[in-house]
Amino acid sequence: MNERLINILLESFPKIFLQGILITIPLTLVSFALALVIAMICAMIQVANVKWLKPFVRFYIWIVRGTPLLVQLYLIYFGLPDLGIVLPALPCAVMVFALNEGAYCAETMRAAIESVPQGQLEAGYCVGMSYMQIMRRIVLPQAFRTAFPPLSNSLISMVKDTSLAANITVMEMFMQAQRIAGRTYEHLALYAETALIYLIFCTVFTKLQRMGEKKLNTLSGGSSIRA
């Protein structure tokens, strides 16, 4: 390795990493938090069988899961201005990522809630609790334990998927790397470096997931509790 290349790598690393800390990670966390809210609402509507809302939820999930994320980004960012709706790139990215991930997480949560034995609900009724009380205190905590690993998976995927936001001019990690690569022509080195930084972030999230699972296990007294 020559000195120039080493200098480029040393100089670009903090720049790309900083963009990760400033944009990629906040973009991921905010979008994912919103996705969880959307997912929770959609899952509850389906599980509680809210008649007039359920078709809308199914429709939304159908659309989102049946179309590519990149196309969704383009549609909102480049498409909506044709209707006179112009959104800045970052909010646009947050919205698309949240709506996209929300649909997937809704299915994860629905499956997790449905995996809680029916007897839990019946026992709750029999001690006099209301449906919402049983959901909040009995069913959802158990469902959350089941949903935690797949949801963590989704979060880790999202860290990487946010690189697509570069396509709609969001100055996140990957966009930063592209710029430096374009300027220096060191594509291999820079994209390898970028991959490494993504790997670092994802490794941290994976570690957090492990810790979270341990914590949940001690809280709920074992992972595979079933009646």
């Binding site: 839990q120 709750g124 029999c126 001690v127 006099g128 609790m129």
Partner: protein, 246 residues
């Protein structure tokens, strides 16, 4: 105390309850016997509205209700006066033994935490689980889980407790302990309906025995009449068969 008239329930073309009448006085312990599929579980579930009856009139604490049209609020109120013990325990899996008992007190009945805790401890001690307050369901044997479920049922001091085959899911060596607990509740004067296949329990602990077959009540009489002076050949055959199995 609790009276039901003309209880009917059909599951898609299968009429499971064909007009069941039932009358329970304070302190009555009614054992419900009958062959598999005769509708015992369905009757009990209708009595606590886990299944919605198609027809039936329920009189409880002096008020009469039409079972198919009872409102969720009325059902919730009624349920706070009753308790249900399931064949498969159905303990809240994310709660400890004592939390299983306090949950219905603090959440559904808005009892202060300290009072609920005290009651829960008393109930758990009564069923013989003093050392297990903070155990999770998955750390308890089937017999212990069922005793937590019984503690959960008695803690709120319900007017009537429904048991659906409380010992059927238990290993043979654990059955005796749970039956002893239920028997002691009977002796305390609690009002209970116990669906069971344990003939000796029905004989010793029940004040009355009801026999169901094909969705109908064939007999509803004192335990003595039922076991010692049984005239119906259908029931005699049933009792003989069970005694031969034992």
């Amino acid at each position: 105390m609790l009276e039901v008239k003309g209880l009917k329930k059909t599951f898609d073309n299968n009429e499971v309850l064909k007009g069941v009448d039932l009358r329970l006085g304070k302190g009555d312990v009614l054992a419900v016997l009958g062959p598999s599929g005769s509708g015992k579980t369905t009757m009990l579930r209708c009595l606590n509205f886990l299944e919605r009856a198609d027809e039936g009139a329920l009189t409880f604490l002096g008020a009469e209700h039409d079972m198919p049209s009872m409102k969720p609020k009325q059902i919730a109120e009624y349920r706070r006066h009753t308790a249900f013990v399931f064949q498969s325990f159905n303990l809240f899996l994310n709660k400890t033994a004592i939390q299983n008992v306090t949950e219905g007190l603090t959440v559904a009945r808005r009892m202060p935490k300290a009072e609920a805790r005290e009651r829960a401890e008393r109930a758990l001690i009564e069923v013989g689980l003093e050392g297990k307050f903070d155990s999770r369901p998955n750390e308890l044997s089937g017999g212990q889980q069922q005793r937590v479920a019984i503690a959960r049922a008695i803690a709120a001091d319900p007017d009537v407790i429904f048991f659906d085959e409380p010992t059927s899911a238990l290993d043979p060596e654990l059955i005796g302990g749970v039956l002893d607990v239920i028997r002691s509740l009977a002796e305390e004067g609690r009002t209970m309906i116990v669906v069971t296949h344990e003939i000796s329990f029905a004989r010793n602990a029940a004040s009355r025995v009801m026999f169901m077959d094909g969705g109908r009540v064939l007999a509803d009489e004192s335990a003595h009449e039922f076991f010692e002076e049984q005239k119906l050949p259908r029931i005699q055959a049933f009792l003989n068969k069970i005694e031969r199995e034992i």
